[in-house]
């Protein structure tokens, strides 16, 4: 459960999960929504995978991520999003998110 809290405490990781709520996406498609370098995003994916919140499927060179949230984890995500957990500490990352896309 610690891993889940750690994963959900970061606004960028929460944004990734929100994007995956709509449909499974490739790493490239997700990266298109952020201004980060790929290694930074890969680190976020690793945390999400470790917490068992996303599932990755590799087909050739493309990695597709899909959501793997339990009902409780989904509720925790909504709660963290509403309260804005980690928004102050991760404000820089949050600003980098391009919501317009």
């Amino acid at each position: 459960m610690n891993l889940v809290f750690k994963a959900l405490s970061d606004p960028t990781r929460r944004r990734i999960l929100q994007l995956l709520r709509r449909r499974p996406m490739t790493a490239g498609q997700i990266a298109g929504h952020f201004d980060f370098a790929k290694p930074t995003l890969s680190a976020h994916f690793a945390v999400l995978r470790e917490a068992d919140l996303v599932e990755s499927e590799k087909a050739g060179t493309t990695v597709t991520y899909s959501l793997k949230l339990s009902v409780l984890e989904d509720a925790l995500l909504s709660f963290a999003e509403t309260v804005g957990v980690g928004a102050r500490t991760g404000g820089g990352l949050n600003l980098a998110t391009r919501r317009g896309k």
Partner: protein, 218 residues
């Protein structure tokens, strides 16, 4: 998706429940059961029927996939089927005892309510994990296939609503006064029936959306 071994175990429990229900029906004709408890007779058949539907629906309901996708389903199905059927078997025992009208020093309605709470908690644990399972298309699929996008979305929404329903069942059983007896059971059954109807309608809607998307993509 439930494996054959779990299905056999659950089926034997359901068989015991049916035998108990039949036995009670036969002995009921002696007039030993007061008419006020006639709803109990119905409950004796509703319990094995609900267990059977829970086991029969997921058994081989999902289309075969590779082992990595079916293994989590089997593990999940085993937990749900055994805990649900075991709990229902105990509940059936309590209902049979209550129907005999014996002068027992224990409050059977309170025991039944406690069992309902335990069952609901076990179901809650299983439903909570449902969206984590890989999406596999159902053999019985009203409204057609949902695809990986709408399939996962459907599972997520249904699980959320089921969690709310089960939490309400727990709250209802915990908060109900001692005098309430079996009164809440009919409301729970009605709500469950409505939930099934709603989930079929919602599935139909999503299936249509998925088909339309596929057509536009072509």
């Amino acid at each position: 998706m439930i494996d054959l071994r779990t299905t056999r175990t659950a089926a034997s429990m359901i068989l015991v429940m049916l035998v108990a229900a039949l036995w009670r029906t036969i002995t009921w004709s002696d007039g030993s059961m007061p008419m006020a408890h006639s709803g109990v007779l119905l409950l004796l058949y509703v319990l094995p029927a609900s267990s059977a539907s829970l086991v029969a629906c997921p058994y081989r309901n999902r289309r075969a996939a590779d082992d990595t996708k079916t293994r989590p389903w089997h593990k999940w199905g085993r937990f749900l089927a055994i805990s649900y059927c075991g709990g229902m078997l105990l509940m059936q025992g309590v209902v049979v005892l209550a129907s005999l009208g014996l002068d027992l020093p224990v409050d059977l309605a309170a025991i039944a309510r406690a069992l309902a709470v335990v069952l609901a908690i076990a179901s809650l644990l299983a439903i909570n994990q449902m969206p984590k399972l890989p999406w596999l298309e159902s053999r019985f699929s009203p409204g057609g296939e949902l695809g990986p996008i709408y399939g996962s979305r459907y599972t997520r929404l249904v699980s959320r609503i089921l969690v709310v329903f089960q939490t309400a069942v727990v709250a209802c059983n915990v908060a109900a006064p001692q005098t309430a007896g079996w009164h809440s059971a009919r409301y729970i059954l009605l709500a469950a029936a409505l939930l099934v109807a709603w989930s079929i309608a919602w599935r139909w809607h999503l299936g249509r959306k998925w088909r339309l998307e596929q057509l536009t993509m072509r």
